[in-house]
């Protein structure tokens, strides 16, 4: 099985700097208030370098790459 990665935003850490959307517009856009909306799902191979750059350049370490996971059960 190939390792598929997806981008996850920590909503509390994120303070809307917007660098990730500038670096990876293919997968990230900003909402009406400047906070990133990430297209869900695993990243294609050709975007991996840019995705890693978006992760490294986030000034508050709010966006990370994570192994694309199966949906967990959620509780309130």
């Amino acid at each position: 099985m190939t390792k598929k990665l997806e981008l996850i935003v920590d909503r509390i850490k994120c303070d809307g700097r917007g660098l990730c959307a500038e670096i990876l517009p293919e997968r990230i856009r900003l909402d009406s208030w400047g906070y990133p909306i990430v297209t869900p799902g695993p990243l294609p191979e050709h975007l991996m370098d840019l995705a890693e750059r978006a992760v490294d350049d986030c000034p508050v370490l709010a966006i990370t790459l994570r192994r694309a996971a199966v949906q967990r059960p959620t509780t309130k």
């Binding site: 959307a21 500038e22 517009p25 293919e26 856009r29």
Partner: protein
Amino acid sequence: MESKDTIHDRVRARDAAMRLLNRLTAGAAFSAVVGVGLLGAIGAYTVPGTASTSTSTASSSSSTGSSSGLQTSTTPVHRSSSSGVAVSGGS
């Protein structure tokens, strides 16, 4: 939803900015290397202990032996002149 066009525009802007970043970085590196040479050369004309007003750096450096250089460093000469003309310190 967002149209493909604006994503395309943003991808293009990203690529242009990436190129600009590379050019600026390369430019800075080049300027820095030149700067080391330039500022070093300026130093060569202004530093106490390089006894030369000649335009030839080669002659100025050959004329300052290491012994005279050592002297300037152990007994620094206080210069108030800003003329850029070096005087031979301590000799």
